[in-house]
Symmetry: C2
Subunit: 676 residues, 2 copies
């Protein structure tokens, strides 16, 4: 099957080349006025400085863990794959950041010179560089390993190492990015908007550059690493389950004609089909750009999705798989899409209006209403995940669950493009405000930004759904591997006290990490507040617009806080499954995976959705949707408080939960054979 | 063994008689001035009116469910036991409320006439009526059923029916009480303290009587029903596990001399020993009352606990059980005590100070800090529960887990006494303020109230810990019963998709109920705000103290809201396990129990502790513990907002989670034999 396996790295290199060509075209676009260029450079520089500092810190972590894997007897290839996974994830983040921080100012310039269609296309192309890189590097990484190691009996261990490398970088990127962006955001808002009474993105605010850098650090690099990890993790889980599947099970679900190698290569092949479909969807934007921007994005995504499903069905039928896996893929794809829609409802419709109305009786009732909405918003996604599990299992067994995740993530090229579009549009708005380009440009960028907020909320729902399915698939793979290693049946019965203890500890680890990240944002935002207050006091003429703020100092504060505070949660996440696995055994570790999965997914949904709903409740009041209320009323002040509480919910702690759950699962999978 | 089984109802009747004698003595104490008597009567009347309305509504529910059980083929005895369980729980609530609303004004009078020692003893006696009633009615109920049905092969089904009756009433009482009290509390505070600027418990505030009624409705009746349910549920679980234990398992853990009947009667006998120990601890207050009040309460509790443990050890050794069960009991008792201490730390020490300090940068940082503390506070209790499960299982198998819960709850007579003391002391303070008794009396009642706040926080931790162990024990009993019904091994493997789907649905049900209760409080508080605003506007001379507020109207609003809003969550809680059990099968129902247990316990801990911490953070600022801050500063205003958010967290939604989890488990246990 080496013929097939060569397709993946080849497709990956084609995709990456396309990403680089897109990037090359992007940077040739004009960057606007001198003022715009200066601001763009400042954001670019801040982002790159952070990334450099982060990566040099991470390289120590990667070296230490690789050494532990090597000397811990996991094999040279696994240790090497761990480094390779970290490199691929890091490279995807680097390319994405580079592109986003070049694309932002060029989007503003396009809005200024050519209007909304051109601006949309620049922002979209900038996102496409990231989207294509994530998918391509995933295929290059896993594809190359499979190409050289497809005959190795260590294959599943080696790809787990690759996935763990990606996962570790992702958790660092998400938590570090989340702390960076929210320290800057909360700090600038508390002093700038509330104390000094100047608008958002005002160039007099010393924290404003850090805030714009944060959008890239959190929503581009963080989100990219998150999705990269799910993409890789889903394939790793499917391959592992396929490799450990008994002949009887295989015949039961797929009939006589299917063998192990066919099932192992399928997730990779389908991802190649997904990448090709994504390219078509992305290319289609050349046609769609004339449409209403929100519609254009949706059409691009749906085009890719439909092409993928049709091509996948044709492939499965023509290569002897039958359609059983197709139903699993379809259930995953529909669940992913539907979770996005539920998220949209809770963060942009009726429930948000209730929160906005509750603001009339003050901040306390606003917060209570927001938490209630957050709790409520978990129900739909949990039910959708449950339904897709049942369908996938019914048609294709445990393998089907992993393939549902693979299906959900196959068109990651285009979904990630749209995710990365959001912060670019957001930045473009900030740059037009800071460069004082006037209301007509700002209106275009605001429009693109508002669409970005909705796509961001949907993207978060999608990220959570895919993380849940991926973790579950990794969890199932873990159980299979433990059984193979034990040479027979190991029961992980849910009433076994060892499993129950694992469940409780799993929940505990998630809660501790959540608490740490919340506390970190609070602390870092406090430092930012002090610094901005100091600058307003000490720099002469700053508020009058004659003095120049020391924006670099604010970037530095966010950077230092992020780098310092991101370490502990990752160490806990990596150490906890090791301690439970070796200390209490494989049953407890199984329980831990279930406990962390459940708690992590619930917290991720609750926090992301409550945060998104608070944000939009404030916007509802600002746009006059609540009778008698507008910017500056008491109800608006209450809604601003809710929005600020929601900031770390939706942009730091909530998204970190996704990756945390996946990282714990992948560490467990790697340990599976050792702890029996 | 009928000799032994007669002991339980006899002990129960002795305990109940003692409760009635204590009550008889209590009401002979003086009630103070005419003003005090009038206020006391108003609170008493409000509480009794609510209870009557609640019980008449519940009787419909009880009749319908009993009919469903009867016609659903669960047997006449099970249906009858369901009604009996509901009656016992209701009676315990009635006696407790009666005693608390007679004891409050008499505590104030004792503080006025005789000082702190006398006031402590009146409040304590008032609590003891409740404490003794809860324990005694539990023993009367289960003891009587066992006396008549010990030879029946339906025994475990019948006692499950009893437990389900108690559980349903408990969930109604907790949710109804929680909504009543917080609608009144939040409503009165928002208008009275914040808008009108009058102090807490000021007689001019129309909501103040409803607020004081609410303390009884929520913290006496609600808490009593909660603990009653755990007490009964733990015994039911132990009996069911004993009844389904194989001879081999029995020999493995307890040696040759122990038989099924011995294990079935043990939880009941130990609870009798616990009741006797509680009586000694309660009686001891006659000696301890000279001590510092906080110390006196602790000494009373520890006395009962130590006597119980020594007596239990002697009983186990002399009646051929050996000490294996003792270690399980000890681990449960220690875990319960330690969880209380952890709760105390998070709601009264360092973490609270951090929240108080975070209030300096406004309400948003106060809320973020509070949520972080709540998340963090879950870790210790989860670890303690895990440790006690491991120890109990190690020494006495699955039966040991149930016995750990029985041990934790055996001295419920005294722990419930101290829990019920809290709201009595709180009311006593309110009455002294409303009757304008002057600062020296208020100082005594404030002191007793402050101790009540700490005991309440510890009591909540204890309630969560015992609920977790009880639910887990019921869960294990459910699995055993399913296996017996299926006539062999049914696996509930944690990677089985059916189990995973159950896990997700279990979490979902808990989240939906939590969202419903939060929303209900918000809605009801809104109505209360409107009514109090209306009265301040329309009743002439109200704020000047010459007009008379329409307090009855506010009590009515709370009553109506509570009665209306309590129905849906209970229906969801009862219907969900039935739907999952019949629709998806016993494996999914097992998963649902684990999912609801984990999510419910986490939410209960998070919400109760965050709420308690916010409350005390506000008090820290008021007492000058934060430099430069006091009542009236911006930081204080921020802390008041946090406290208001915490109100439904700690007194409505958080505590409801305990019972919800137990109710789902007990419904599942009842269904176990039917759904296989």
């Amino acid at each position: 099957m080496q013929n097939i396996s060569a397709i993946a790295p080849i497709a990956g290199f084609i995709g990456l080349s396309l990403a680089l060509v897109t990037y090359g075209r992007l940077i040739k676009k004009p960057s606007g006025t001198d003022k715009m260029i200066a601001i763009g450079d400042e954001i670019h520089l801040g982002a790159m400085t952070f990334l450099k500092a982060e990566y040099s810190k991470l390289s120590i972590f990667v070296a230490v863990v690789a050494a532990l894997l090597f000397f811990g007897g996991f094999g040279t290839y696994t240790a090497g794959a761990f480094i390779f996974g970290a490199l691929c994830s890091g490279l995807a983040g680097y390319i994405g950041m580079k592109s986003a921080t070049k694309g932002n100012v060029r989007t503003t310039a396009a809005a200024k010179d050519h209007g909304v269609g051109a601006a949309l296309q620049v922002a979209f192309s900038s996102g496409a560089v990231m989207g294509l890189s994530v998918a391509s590097l995933g295929l290059i990484g896993l594809g190359t390993i499979y190409f050289f190691q497809s005959e190795s009996d260590q294959l599943t261990g080696i790809i787990s190492g690759f996935s763990m490398g990606a996962s570790s970088i992702a958790l660092f990127a998400r938590i570090g990015g989340g702390i960076f962006t929210k320290a800057a955001d909360v700090g600038s808002d508390l002093v700038g908007k509330i104390e000094a009474g100047i608008p958002e993105d005002d160039p007099r605010n010393p924290g404003v550059i850090a805030d714009n850098v944060g959008d890239n650090v959190g929503d581009v690099a963080g989100m990219g690493a998150d999705i990269f990890e799910s993409y890789v993790g889903a394939m790793v889980a499917a391959i592992t389950i396929a490799a450990t599947m008994s002949a009887a099970t295989m015949t039961e679900y797929f009939g006589e004609g299917v063998n192990t190698t066919m099932l192992i290569t399928l997730p990779i092949t389908l991802s190649v089909i997904g990448l090709a479909s994504s390219m078509i969807g992305i290319w289609g934007m050349n046609i769609f750009k004339g449409m209403d921007p929100a519609k254009a994005l949706t059409v691009s995504e749906i085009t890719a999705g439909v092409i993928f499903l049709v091509a996948a069905a044709l492939y499965l039928m023509n290569f002897g798989y039958g359609l059983s896996v197709f139903w699993a893929i379809l259930s995953g794809t529909i669940a992913g899409f539907a979770i996005g829609k539920v998220t949209e409802y809770y963060t942009a419709a009726g429930p948000v209006f209730k929160i906005a109305k509750a603001s009339k009786t003050g901040p306390a009732t606003n917060i209570i209403a927001g938490i209630a909405v957050g709790l409520q918003s978990c129900a739909g996604p949990l039910l959708l995940i449950a339904a897709s599990i049942l369908v996938a299992f019914e048609f294709a067994g445990l393998y089907g669950i992993a393939m549902a995740a693979v299906g959900m993530l196959a068109t990651v090229g285009v979904t990630m493009t749209i995710d990365a579009y959001g912060p670019v549009a957001d930045n473009a708005g900030g740059i037009s405000e800071m460069s004082k380009l006037g209301p007509e440009v700002r209106e275009i960028t605001d429009g693109l930004d508002a669409i970005g907020n909705t796509t961001a909320a949907i993207g978060k729902g999608f990220a959570i759904g895919s993380a849940a399915l991926t973790s579950l698939a990794l969890f199932v793979a873990y159980k299979q591997k433990v059984m193979v290693a034990a040479g027979g049946d190991i029961s992980m019965d849910i009433t076994d006290p060892k499993v129950v203890v694992g469940l409780l500890i799993g929940a505990m680890v998630v809660l501790i990490c959540a608490a740490m990240t919340m506390t970190s944002v609070g602390k870092a935002a406090g430092e930012m507040v002090d610094e901005i207050r100091r600058q307003f006091k000490e720099i002469p003429g700053l508020l009058e617009g004659t003095g120049k703020p020391d924006t670099a100092r604010c970037v530095e504060i966010s950077t230092n806080a992020a780098l310092k505070e991101m370490v502990m949660p990752v160490l806990v996440a990596v150490a906890a499954p090791v301690a439970v696995g070796y200390g209490l055994g494989p049953e407890s570790l199984g329980g831990m995976l279930a406990g962390s999965l459940l708690t992590g997914v619930v917290l991720a949904l609750l926090m992301s959705n409550a945060g998104g709903a608070w944000d939009n409740a404030k916007k509802f009041i600002e746009t006059g949707a609540v009778e008698g209320e507008k910017k500056g009323t008491d109800a608006h002040a209450a809604a601003v408080i809710g929005d600020t509480v929601g900031d770390p919910f939706k942009d730091t702690t909530g998204p970190a939960m996704n990756i945390l759950v996946k990282l714990i699962s992948i560490v467990a999978l790697l340990l599976a054979a050792k702890i029996v």
